[in-house]
Subunit: 97 residues, 2 copies
Amino acid sequence: MIEALSEAERADALDGLPEWDHDEARDAITRTIVFADFIEAFGFMTQVALIAERMNHHPEWANVYNRVDILLTTHDAGGLSPRDIEMAQAIDAIVEE
Amino acid sequence: MIEALSEAERADALDGLPEWDHDEARDAITRTIVFADFIEAFGFMTQVALIAERMNHHPEWANVYNRVDILLTTHDAGGLSPRDIEMAQAIDAIVEE
């Protein structure tokens, strides 16, 4: 069982993820990324998919052509957990490449 | 410019796609597919992505773990076009494999 972040941990984590918005209703973080085209968008998704499978922690996401909307939360924890922060950091690193 | 389907063509096409629902508000077709796990779901998405790029016709889709929700419509046509039907048939063929 993964534990949700405490209030202080959540605040710290969100400060470190300026590209992400906090969805308070779901205690999730969201980020929308717009790429040049579908090839870049799906290439990004493929990289994230491999990391997600390795981490055994999967995003909720949607794609329309060059746009990818991502939502991270931990169902087992009922909200944000350290896994989401780790995943968000991994996603940011891929986007920055 | 791709032309939208006529009423008769749309009715015929939908009859041939029993796994798909018609979203009348958007004149789109939708299908939800549930796989065994994320590996199968994303493997499916990868096959569809390659076909989408080859056809230059891309789905609107969302994924949560083993579930994939797909919506097909043709923005340039303002609704369903023959491309959506062709894409839906290709997706059905992949799912049946």
